[in-house]
Symmetry: C2
Subunit: 441 residues, 2 copies
């Protein structure tokens, strides 16, 4: 394409158009092939996407029976359209999002419709010209007030859709009440069809391969911890132990970048937690699962990730110095220990979160080990004998890495503490008791 475009510069506009037209079928084919490949990849990356698309198709086909089946059409008539509309608007990828939107929509339609019928009763007290003026003023006041309420952070997080539907229903019903005398009847018909639409969407979403956003949040938090654990283990292995024996040949340094996504995971986790609150009756989590504590673990994970970003910035000094200094040899044992023990603790924690278990003794064992190593490292850094023959220019980066590693230990400990709180609030299974022989009877 580059060669073609440079050739274009020397020719007239007609030749250009002709060239473009000649190339069109080939280009279109290339675009189509690329599109198909992308679609295939999207499906392979997460097959639940294909299932979701089929589920939406099924739900819409189901709800269109309102039009195809004579008795249903005779009962609801044109109002059946609200059921179709509801399914399209309410059906989301996860159960939490679908439930949230469905419940919001049903409640908002009910309350908005009821208020509109009330307003209609007030407006009928006025005669001809007065009626639209009163209706207009009331619509203006209520629309403006509820729109302003959408700015409340607490309402925005969970009820934004409901507030919008409230305005919508209120305006539709009260505005059309001016031309339609059977406003109560119409509002009821719409409410029924919207409720049916919501139920169809919710039932299809839950019954056919459901995607629980609570599980996704849990996996996300666990995966983030695992990424940090991988980094720490890899960092210790690559930049302390192996730098002594020469760098590893296979160059598998994917762990160096894995943690980057943790740095910016805040908004995603908050959205997920908000949606997970709608999944009341999930068999694993149940009602009042402490989603906020997951966010707390997430926040601490990010704080640890910032320290790791920091460690990462010292790698360049390690890569320049091919042969480790005397000083590094002295402190490397404790550094490796902190890396591997903290890394293991984080990875154990990740697997405990995934399995909803409190395997505290293993985690605490690793944490205690890392604390001992940190204490040793601290006192080593205070020893003057260690520095005497050292090349100070090479010491600083290594010592700075040591300081960061010492900082990472309490950071990991805090994550574990928050996990303990989460585990006791959420009544995770006690793994440690189960494995002891006395309980195995």
């Amino acid at each position: 394409m580059d060669i073609a475009s440079t050739n274009f510069e020397n020719v007239g506009p007609f030749t250009r158009v002709w060239e473009w037209l000649k190339a069109l079928p080939v280009n279109l084919w290339a675009v189509a092939v690329e599109f198909a490949n992308k679609m295939k990849k999207l499906g392979q990356d997460d097959p639940r996407r294909i299932v979701h698309s089929l589920k939406v198709g099924v739900a819409i086909t189901l709800v269109s029976l309102f039009y195809y089946v004579r008795p249903l059409f005779d009962r609801f008539g044109e109002n059946g359209i609200w059921a179709v509309l509801t399914v399209v608007l309410v059906f989301e990828f996860s159960v939490g999002a679908t439930l949230g939107k469905g419940l919001n929509r049903m409640l908002a339609t009910l309350s908005g419709g009821a208020l509109a019928v009330g307003v209609d009763q007030v407006a009928t007290l006025f005669d001809g010209t007065g009626q639209p003026i009163v209706l207009g003023i009331l619509v203006f006041i209520i629309a403006a007030t509820v729109t302003f309420m959408r700015f409340f952070p607490e309402l925005k997080a969970r009820y934004d859709y409901g507030l919008m539907i409230f305005i919508l229903t209120f305006c539709l019903v009260s505005v059309s009440s001016y031309q339609d005398d059977e406003v109560l009847d119409m509002a009821c018909q719409r409410l029924y069809t919207i409720i049916i639409g919501c139920f169809i969407a919710i039932i299809v979403c839950i019954c056919v391969c459901p995607v629980w956003i609570g599980e996704n949040l849990q996996n996300q938090i666990a995966n983030n911890l695992e990424k940090l654990g991988n980094f720490l283990e890899g960092f210790g292995r690559e930049y302390f132990r192996l730098s002594e024996e020469g760098h590893s040949t296979d160059d598998d340094k994917s762990f160096l970048h894995g943690y980057k996504s943790v740095l910016t995971s805040k908004d995603k986790e908050e959205t997920m937690a908000n949606l997970a609150r709608w999944e009341f009756w999930h068999y694993r989590f149940g009602f009042r699962h402490p989603w906020n504590r997951y966010l707390k673990v997430g926040t601490l994970t990010r704080q640890c990730a910032y320290k790791i970003e920091d460690l990462n910035s010292y790698i360049k000094y390690f890569e320049i110095q091919a042969t480790p200094t005397e000083f590094r040899r002295e402190i490397q044992e404790q550094c490796i220990k902190i890396c591997s023990e903290s890394g293991k603790a984080l990875k154990e924690l990740a697997s405990a979160i995934k399995k909803l278990r409190r395997s505290t003794s293993v985690i605490n064992f690793h944490i205690e080990n890392s604390k001992i190593a940190a204490e040793k490292l601290k006192s080593m850094l205070n020893m003057t004998s260690l520095w005497e023959n050292a090349n100070l220019r090479e010491i600083i980066p290594t010592a700075a890495v040591g300081l960061i590693l010492i900082d990472i230990v309490p950071c990991t400990e805090k994550i574990v503490e928050t996990f303990q709180e989460l585990a006791s609030c959420a009544r995770f299974e006690r793994m440690d008791d189960r494995v002891s022989p006395s309980n195995d009877v």
Copy 2:
């Protein structure tokens, strides 16, 4: 409340209910007062919210004329409801969001309706029972395919709403075509009212105190740079200079926390840039404004913020050591210089972005100064004489801070380079030329 609830534990359920009922009016009043206070605070924090709510009210009142004005109702009838619905759904806080939703909705309604009319023609080729089956299959296929397309990241970013409306319109028109013979007429009527609704929303949004999301993005990027600049200046002032003269008494350390919001600004900035692309005709930005480059500046700003988070973690060492060491006294001049020059460069940059100006010479002056200081600091850290009498345990944190400061300089430089690219792409005004006397004639 705490006292009351502990008293409850010793009394029967009836007494509890009675106590609760007695307290109800007081509690309700307290809730109402709190709600009103919160509303007031929301309005004071950003008065544009109040204006937005009034704008929504005006747009809805305008569009309800479809029902109140007889000739309009005679022309569009019940289809006028789609105009009301469109205004409620399309009207957003910023011009970009409203335009994006409006254009998406109009295009999607047009294309979805056209496809549905085509499908209807195909279905009429079949007789009685065949028709709903053919319609059902086609609706299933198209709904599932388009739902899957919503997973494409490129489409999701800008056309997600359009794809949903496409499914919606297609399903509504093709499903109702089975019971309604004048499907083409109905589709056209709806299209007209939706277009009118979109235009009312867009015009009110643009003409009455518009909120341009492009300006918001620009301010957000500039404010983030300013926060980092404030931190650097404050850090240099508090922890190098003043630690010599004792800590400052006024304790204004707000700069220590201001930068925290920068760490997690990624998603917000990306959403803003996606919406800003819809604001084609903004008087300051115009068509094809390079929004992507703002995101690039944002990414580099975040990278700088991670380093600052890192600096922040060393503050504890500085606070423990009330009297600075000999070593710190030696390097502090260059450290302060890096802090203040980088900080000034970032703040100049922020004001240049806000004013859409390329005031490069001032920024470059500060950058050059900070580079010189960084070079000096580097060679100081290499000097062995500096270390001879030092207490090494106290040296490490100070030296680590020095290393981070040296790292911040190229980071700032990169931000400035990206800004230069942005400024030349976006054709910012050349500030430097304007102040030179030769051009002032």
